[in-house]
Symmetry: C2
Subunit: 199 residues, 2 copies
């Protein structure tokens, strides 16, 4: 006794989603077919639409439906600062924080040997000419402070060494509102090592 | 700055999957579009195919591409025993265990007030004539031993009371290979309460 082929194929197809194994895929398939056929149809349509309509911004590499994303097309932004992030979600967080007025470059990943993602997968062929366009004077590396993000940051700093650009890294330290008693020790230690002069 | 509409729609559509919230949906969308476009296309196709081709077996209510599923169509199976399970996955487990030669009925759910699923959602209008076809003499309730499964089992036993059928429930107790030291106390207590005579 096996599931009917169309069901088996759906379960197999759901396993392409990150973090979804056989059991979860089966649960998802049952849910869609039993309780949310409309949602399943919406998902199929959205996948089709995203696959056909989404491309990458030619300048910053984020997902976009147009040749230039709205940020890159915005002439009012500072053209001399280029912030490098791992994913579009990171870009969006920075925009929400309203802390940066320059432009971005989205790597669409981070160096991760376990996932078989090396420097060649990070669109460096697009990043290098972008950063060396003559208008950018500072590259702000804003990859995550995870092991993979730090390795990626190191690789990027090596890449831009001796190219006449200022290369910076966003700061590590205590979170805003953070209490010393409850923050993790690694963060606390970094906050001490990277302490800044006041006044 | 927002994601482009096609991407926002895909993220929203992925949230129909059980257990997938906004952050996971975003991660899934990025993964599909960045690392597995072929998988995304496969998923869209599989959803379409499942939605058009899958229906329910007219006798046992499990997912099927044919009017009768292979088990119900199998004349060699015992026609006098009807095992009631919550989901097709449960049926498949019983089949893999090769412990039951009768036929099944799949409720496609369990009573779950939290999810707004009551008796009326459990295909009882299909179950009752099926069980009372004159050939079935024993109904084996094999819903899960969760709170919801137990409530469902109780409702089923009430449903079949005084209808001239033997109603049984699969046994609770120690797992095969289980050690008393490591089994949870609830299971151990049930195993003692429901102890059986030997020879």
């Amino acid at each position: 006794m096996k599931n009917p082929p169309a069901l088996e194929q759906l379960i197999a197809a759901l396993k392409v989603l990150p973090g979804v194994g056989p059991k979860t895929a089966q649960r998802m398939a049952f849910h869609l077919l039993q309780r949310d056929k409309k949602g399943a149809d919406k998902l199929a349509r959205a996948l089709d639409k995203a696959l056909t309509q989404l491309t990458h911004c030619q300048r910053c590499n984020t997902f976009s439906e147009t040749e230039l994303c709205p940020i890159c097309a915005d002439e009012a932004r500072r053209q001399d600062q280029l912030c490098i992030v791992e994913m579009p979600a990171d870009l969006m967080m920075l925009e929400q924080a309203k802390c940066f007025e320059g432009l971005y470059f989205v790597l669409m990943g981070r160096i991760s040997p376990l996932d078989n993602i090396g420097p060649k997968d990070l669109n460096l062929d697009k990043l290098l000419p972008r950063a060396l366009d003559g208008r950018v004077s500072e590259v702000v590396i804003a990859t995550n402070f995870t092991a993979e993000g730090e390795v990626t940051a190191h690789m990027l700093s090596e890449l831009f060494k001796d190219r006449g650009l200022a290369v910076t890294r966003i700061a590590r330290g205590m979170p805003v509102g953070g209490e010393l008693e409850y923050v993790d020790l690694g963060t606390l230690a970094q906050a001490v090592y990277e302490r800044r002069g006041v006044s």
